[in-house]
Symmetry: C2
Subunit: 490 residues, 2 copies
């Protein structure tokens, strides 16, 4: 059962779907727009979670858990937020099924079990959380509150793609409360920085840091900070957002506190989140036509050892020694003892799954006291003395991690342009050639018009000061004081 | 804001609620029957999760994630299971809200966005998972599947209590698929054993192991194994169940495989789960009128250091040294630097939160080079040389863990009776005196009648062979070959 993956060149979108399903990351489900995250995909998510959770705790946050459901009256309290999510939310209206008298063995919604107030399945938790914070906050002594939640959320998207856009997805959402605007903004920027470090240092995925335009802000936010990554096809993927919410939710839910000056004031808020969407970003950043390419720091299995052609006392012995040494260094290593399949099949399977390093141990090689070490990213193979296999692999894992990052930077550089005239801009966007730094007059109308004409959006107003310069809007020719980042996006 | 907890003697149920809310484990929410798990409660859950997750992985399981929603047609496929949960499930019927034309700023369910098929919010995931397993299993080579899921589930309970019974709760659910009945039964028993070890070795909560009667089995199971713990008021709490599901779900979802004899057969299944209910069990097993008493192995903070009366260079110095030594041994230690409150207040607060060990460092004590170490379980205090404080604490943590278990066993022994006549049985149950081992004729009718008369249920048919003996049913006088465990239960 050889697995066939559509080449990227032929159909990038099909390549992505093939890869996700065939590498065992996810499966389709019986529920519209919802996927099953299979063990390989979930193991990747666990590694992401573990890393992020530690980063959150190291920056002073604690975890908690708030209800899945938001009563409609709370949901609608913050108007912009409600407006932003109302069109895509799953609504619970009943709390019981009963036997269907018209169809034996079938159930029907019990009309007598209608809820007095409908419950929205959370698309995000600001409403339910700020309604709770009201009881927790009286004085400045109760601040800040630095809470994160790992949870599932539901947004009834019409067009879904595994990981990138699903009706239900897993994420974390931080919700913090502060005594001053400045402290809240600093918090939002701090988490923006945490996301940047995670993307670059762990996912090996370079990102552009910036702020969203007013049009593209989170519903209910005063400012949204984002990290934008380029996928291999040149399109952008928003990989994590951090919002300064001002006093919007505090006002909607009447959350006030007594300042140290004994004055009553509304509380300042932030929220920030990343989701299983990052798995999609990871796949599209590094993988190739043979399968996944995973950064060593997040790969569920970092080193796979394959006996050639099959296990023997000598091969097992060498494998055990290498595994012991690797495990002592905290490396996730597995020995493939499956007897049903031949080495060639296994090689393909582990390549498909993105294992960064494969150590092949063959009887003939062992006579020379060497093993063959293959790296997934470049497919290079090297013959290494058995007793150096572990230390060589550890060094190689670091090299692969760095190489993936460098390759992605290189790819991004090649597909990034500074553009100053509209024809060139349109052409680049039509040909899907990547990121464009261009001038924009700062108006939402112009932004909309550009989107309409080219499908490109302003991904962010980058924080990079090198982009500050006087120029003229790419579309209207009106004056502009900095370039912004345009791209088509996932 | 001194916190008042109702004493156990006065009102056990009020004591429990006071404790849960005032110690910061949980809070009420705006959603009927749903609670907020606060940071202290969630930290406890994280420690439970971490321990259990490792135990699951060590026994060969991997994690995955299946959709929150179950389409009604799948939900009703396994009839007994559906019947068991139909009366208490939240049902999503619509996927959009819209502006309410009759009320400005309000939203209403959009009648045009009615789902073709209603979605049940999972009360348990057998249906959605077995519908997926059908695609994953063709031959015996695809078996076993050993998957666990960490998730939220919803059961629309009418009477709820924090942790013990809530509409939404967090849990793990293992769902495994096997080629033979024997292998599946072994799996169910293996996880039963894992739960027993977790309850006793980590929660310090002794349990009785046994099988449920047919009346009390999980809906859709052939056999349910349970662990039953005694709470301080003598009532039983079911702390974890493991089900052998036979071929029931395979038949409902048409999951067949080719055996190694090339015969087509239905797959055998198990499922097993524990939930945030365990936090309630933990509270009720060990805590006292001053607050939580947490077993060291699961306590979010194991050692708290309090400066007396407030921090100073010398005290900080001593605290740092002790912390460093404790952290090197993997102990979770915190230094209470809060300047707003005095030591007495802090002592009460940390007792309320159940921190197993408190180290008080006072200026005068330091002159003698000693610190005061207080244990939460017995409230005993000892003066210990500063340079031995860390090693003493580590030994003490082990002693506390053991003492909690011993105390719970002792309490259970005192409240366990072997009863052979009905009057005594009734009296014990009326007075809430705990566990009773009695004979039962094996019929569901008798079981129901006993429940009706006394509110006592058969908690399990214990695995303990010492209970095998001929006798006569406590109610009907009919012959019986073993005693079973009766109790009132949470």
């Amino acid at each position: 059962m050889a697995k066939v993956i559509c080449p990227r060149e032929k159909d990038y979108s099909q390549w992505y779907n093939d890869l996700v399903y065939q590498s065992g990351l996810a499966d389709q489900s019986a529920v519209r727009g919802c996927m099953v995250i299979k063990p390989h995909g979930y193991a990747l998510w666990e590694n992401m979670q573990g890393t992020l959770d530690k980063m959150f705790k190291d920056t002073g946050h604690v975890n908690a858990y708030f209800p899945l459901f938001v009563p409609k009256s709370l949901f609608e309290a913050e108007e912009k937020n409600a407006e932003g999510f109302a069109k895509e939310c799953a609504v619970v209206t009943h709390y019981r099924l009963k036997n269907d008298p018209a169809a034996k063995g079938k159930l029907m919604v019990d009309p007598d079990a209608r809820l007095e107030e409908e419950l929205v399945v959370r698309p995000t938790s600001e409403a339910i959380i700020w309604n709770t914070y009201r009881d927790w906050i009286q004085s400045y002594r109760d601040l800040p509150i630095l809470i994160n939640q790992w949870a599932n959320v539901v947004r009834w998207e019409m067009r879904t793609r595994p990981f990138l856009r699903t009706a239900e997805f897993l994420w974390q959402e931080g919700h913090t409360a502060h005594a001053t605007a400045q402290e809240a903004i600093e918090e939002a920027l701090k988490m923006h920085e945490v996301y940047t470090r995670f993307a670059e240092d762990f996912m090996a995925m370079p990102v552009i840091k910036g702020a969203k335009t007013a049009n593209e802000r989170f519903a209910g936010a005063e400012e949204t900070y984002t990290i934008e990554a380029m996928m291999q096809d040149g399109k952008a993927l928003q990989a994590g957002t951090s919002h300064y919410l001002g006093q919007n939710f505090a006002k909607a839910f009447e959350v006030k506190f007594l300042t140290d000056q004994n004055r009553e004031e509304y509380v300042y808020a932030t929220s920030w989140g990343v989701s299983t969407r990052l798995i999609g970003a990871l796949v599209m950043s590094h993988s190739d036509d043979d399968g996944l390419v995973l950064p060593p720091k997040l790969a569920p299995v970092q080193v796979i050892i394959v006996p050639i052609p099959k296990p023997s006392a000598e091969i097992n012995d060498a494998a055990e020694k290498i595994m012991k040494e690797l495990r002592e260094q905290g490396i996730r290593v597995r020995y493939d003892l499956d007897e049903k399949n031949r080495p060639g099949f296994k090689f393909a399977e582990h390549e498909l799954k993105g294992v960064p390093i494969r150590i092949g141990i063959g009887a003939r090689d062992l006579e020379q006291s060497v093993v063959e070490i293959a790296r997934r990213d470049t497919k290079e193979k090297t013959s290494v003395p058995v007793d150096q296999a572990a230390s060589y692999s550890i060094g190689l894992l670091n090299m692969i991690q760095q190489n993936l990052f460098d390759r992605a930077v290189e790819r991004r550089t090649q597909k990034t342009n500074f553009v100053d005239n509209w024809e060139e801009f349109e052409q680049i966007m039509n040909e899907n050639q990547g990121f464009v730094y261009a001038h924009w007059d700062g108006s939402g109308e112009t932004e909309d018009l550009i989107k309409e004409k080219t499908k490109a959006t302003i991904r962010c107003i980058p924080m990079d000061n090198d982009l500050i310069e006087n120029g003229r809007c790419i579309l209207t020719g009106k004056p502009s004081s900095r370039r912004v980042l345009f791209a088509k996006a996932y």
